[in-house]
Structure formats: C-alpha cells, structure tokens
C-alpha cells in the first residue's frame, strides 16, 4: 500500500499552501512533488514521497539509531 521513497528537496517552486511544490531528487532523477503536507520541510531535507506527495520528513538523527544499535550488537558479538 505504501511505496514511499525518500527524496531530497532541491528547490521549493510554489508557495501556494495547498499546491506547495518542490523539486525533489531521488538518486539521479528529480520530480516535482507536492509538499503541502510537510510545509516545514526546507531545501536539503529528505521527505518520504508517495504518489506525488511528501507525507513525512525524514529525521536523520533517528535514521542513524539503528546503525548505533548494530554497532553495539557487533561489540557484544566480539565479546562472545
């Protein structure tokens, strides 16, 4: 139900509230995406995009957490 892909906001194109649009890059491609639901997002932020809409902003600090956890697991394994 949920093909949502993370993309980086490169430029904000339209400031009208419901049609607020940004050029968002996904790897090597860009597409214009409606960011009306994530108006606090700024250039450089990553957003999750589903059917042409940004539905959430990616929290980079949270994104790192799992790798910290993995590093801990790795240390535990070495102790065994």
């Amino acid at each position: 139900m949920c093909l949502g892909i993370p993309g980086r906001i490169e430029e904000i194109l339209n400031l009208a509230p419901l049609e607020r649009t940004a050029r968002v890059s996904f790897g090597g491609i860009t597409k214009d995406i409606n960011i009306a639901y994530v108006p606090e997002a700024v250039v450089g932020d990553y957003v999750i995009v589903h059917v042409g809409f940004a539905i959430s902003r990616v929290d980079e600090r949270e994104a790192q957490r799992i790798f910290d956890y993995l590093a801990q697991l790795g240390e535990l394994e070495e102790l065994e």
Binding site: L3, I5, S25, G27, G28, I29, T30, V51
Partner: protein
C-alpha cells in the same frame, strides 16, 4: 571464411539537404494512394535523405548481388511513442533494431527495406526528421535502405507514424549462433548497464527530469559482434535486449534451450538515474526495455578474450560476466541477490506497470 560480398558503391548521402520549404503541411490520405501526391512525398520527404542506386531507380523491388553465402533475414516493426525521445527517435530505432537482429545471428547487415504507415495529419516536417535520422543511421551502420513502401491511415488510426524494417545480412562463418548451441558451463556476458531506453522514454511521459539527462541506449551492435567473430571467438549465442528487458531475453533463451542459468545480481549494472526512476515508479529494472545492449554466451575458456574485445567498443565498454549456464534439462533463470537469496525470473504476463503499493 567466405569472401565478403562486394557491392556497388553507394552515393554518399546528403545529410545537409535542407527541409522542404513547405513545412507546415501534413500527411493527407492522398499521400498513400500511389498517385502524384505519393510520388511527390517520396521525392521531397524520403528520397533526399536516403540515396543509393536502388532507390534512385524507383523500382518496386531491389535486385541485389549475392554469391551463395548463408543469408540472414529478419523483420521488426517500430511503434514507439513518443517518436522523439532523449537519445534517439523512431527512425534510428528502426534501423538499429533490424541491424541488431541480424548481428545477433552473427550476420553482417547489408540491406534493409522500410515500410511506413503514416497517420493522416502527421506533419511533413516530422516525417522529414525521421527519414533524415534513418538515413544517418544507415550510413553509420553501413547498410543500404534499398526498397520501401508508404501507406496512409485515417486520422486517429495510427500513432503518428509506424515503421517496419526488414533486413538481410550475410553470414560469413559456418557456425550456428543460436540458443541450441548453448552449453552447460557457458559464461553469460552482458554488454552494459540496463534500463536506459525504457526509463528515458517513460521519463518524458511521466514528467521525470534527470540531473544528467537520461538518454536511451539506442545503438547499433554489429561492430563488437563482428570483432568477436573475426577474432575467432566461438560465440554460442547472442541476444539483444529489447522490450521486456534483460529478464525476458534470458528467460526466452533458457526456454528455447531448456537450460538453467544462474545470475549474480551484483554484476548487473544499473545507473543511478535508472535506479532512482525505477524505485520511484515501482518498476523492476530487469524488465525495463533496452535498445543497445546484448548478451553473449561463450565457453569459459573464451571469456577473458571475449570481454577484452567487447570492452574495446564504446557501445559494449561496460561488458561484464553476469552469470553462467549451470545445466541443460530444465529451463530456469535464477538470480542470486546480495543476500545470497535466489529468485526465479519469469516472463511478465504483460507490460510492466508502475505501482503505488
């Protein structure tokens, strides 16, 4: 090795021929009727871009010299939309596509026919551009477009322009390059990265822009094939990737031979733009169309030499070994991914569709 066939010297094609002055006009039903309008269409919008003694003679059929070597013969139709896409157009595709089919039999492409089905209302300027493209592609690949036909269908009954090309080539070796020759242990080589053509075409339809514009990989493949054969590489099978992508081409070959292929996903190159576009639209790059890529099946001892030859050509500079033939007896194409997990590749029931889920 048989002697190559000599052919009469073709006149150099005039690619600087300017577009006819009357560029606002469009195709009318009368252009397909065989009368004066048809003659003028050929004279003004087709012949200027494709010059050779056969077309100059304006006969219905071309009589071609042939000295008893084996003949390769193929046909293909081209219905791509849009007609012009980043990195190519329908005219180039129509020439390269048939040239490539001939090359995949190990034949040297020589002569093409060209049938046009034009939709009433197609701008004549568009036709001229497409024909100029075909003429350039013919010169580039060394083939002659020696005969053709033009028909016109009513507005709404065609997508602007459809092209069919049939081609003949000469087979200058005595081998059988076909699925039947595939052997267990054969290495599977892929000439470059996948998915460019399909995504370049889809991008222009879906409003995707690329940081570095994504070009179709539309290209002729006969030169690296020719060099492989000239070097005495005993090529077992060749197949160019077209619609349906890498997966479809390999599944068809596996079924034709009744063989099992094992592929390593990490060896299949996909450029960042294609990957991003596929992720966004929910497409599998293994099923996305290509127009300038091919696979080669060779015995393991010939693998290094074959790769070295392929890599000398720009069009196959990215050649890698992506897998091998494990056995003959049951048709399977298995892809191992980075997790060591195996996945069976199959034909898609129809066109691959983007998904939201």
């Amino acid at each position: 090795m048989l002697k190559p066939i000599t052919q009469p010297t073709a006149q150099p094609m005039n690619i600087d021929c300017p577009l006819p002055a009357d560029t606002e006009d469009t195709i009318r039903l009368g252009h397909g009727s065989g009368g004066e309008l048809s003659q003028n269409l050929f004279r003004d919008y087709i012949h200027p871009y494709i010059k050779n003694p056969w077309l100059d003679q304006l006969h219905d059929g071309a009589r071609l010299p042939f000295t008893g070597a084996r003949l390769a013969f193929t046909t293909d139709s081209f219905v791509v939309s849009p007609l012009f896409f980043p990195g190519g157009d329908i005219g180039e595709l129509a020439v390269y596509g048939t040239v490539n089919d001939l090359a995949m039999s190990g034949a040297r492409p020589m002569y093409l026919s060209c049938s046009l089905i034009l939709e009433e209302g197609l701008p004549l300027k568009t036709l001229a551009k497409v024909m100029a493209s075909m003429g350039r592609a013919a010169v580039q690949t060394g083939v002659q477009l020696v005969t053709g036909d033009t028909k016109v269908v009513e507005r709404g009954k065609g997508d602007g322009l459809y092209i069919n090309t049939a081609g003949v080539g000469v087979v200058e070796h005595e081998w059988e390059i076909a699925a039947a020759t595939i052997c267990p242990g054969d290495r599977i080589l892929l000439s470059g990265d996948i998915g460019r053509h399909g995504m370049a075409v889809m991008a222009s339809r879906e409003g995707l822009a690329f940081d570095t514009p994504l070009q179709s990989d539309c290209a002729p493949l006969h030169e690296p094939v020719h060099d492989l054969l000239q070097a005495g590489i005993r090529v077992h099978c060749l197949r160019d990737l077209t619609r349906g992508g890498l997966a479809t081409a390999l599944v068809e070959l596996a079924r034709a031979r009744g063989a099992s292929f094992l592929l390593r996903e990490s060896e299949v190159q996909i450029c960042e733009s294609v990957e991003g576009a596929c992720e966004l639209l929910g497409l599998d790059p293994f099923y996305v169309a290509n127009e300038g890529r091919f696979v080669v099946f060779v015995a393991p001892e010939e693998e290094p030499a074959a790769l070295e030859i392929l890599r000398r050509h720009t069009v196959s500079a990215g050649s890698r070994t992506i897998g091998l033939v494990t056995e003959v007896g049951r048709p399977d194409v298995i892809l191992t991914n980075f997790l060591g997990c195996e996945r069976l590749l199959d034909l898609l029931p129809g066109e691959q569709l983007p998904r939201i889920c």
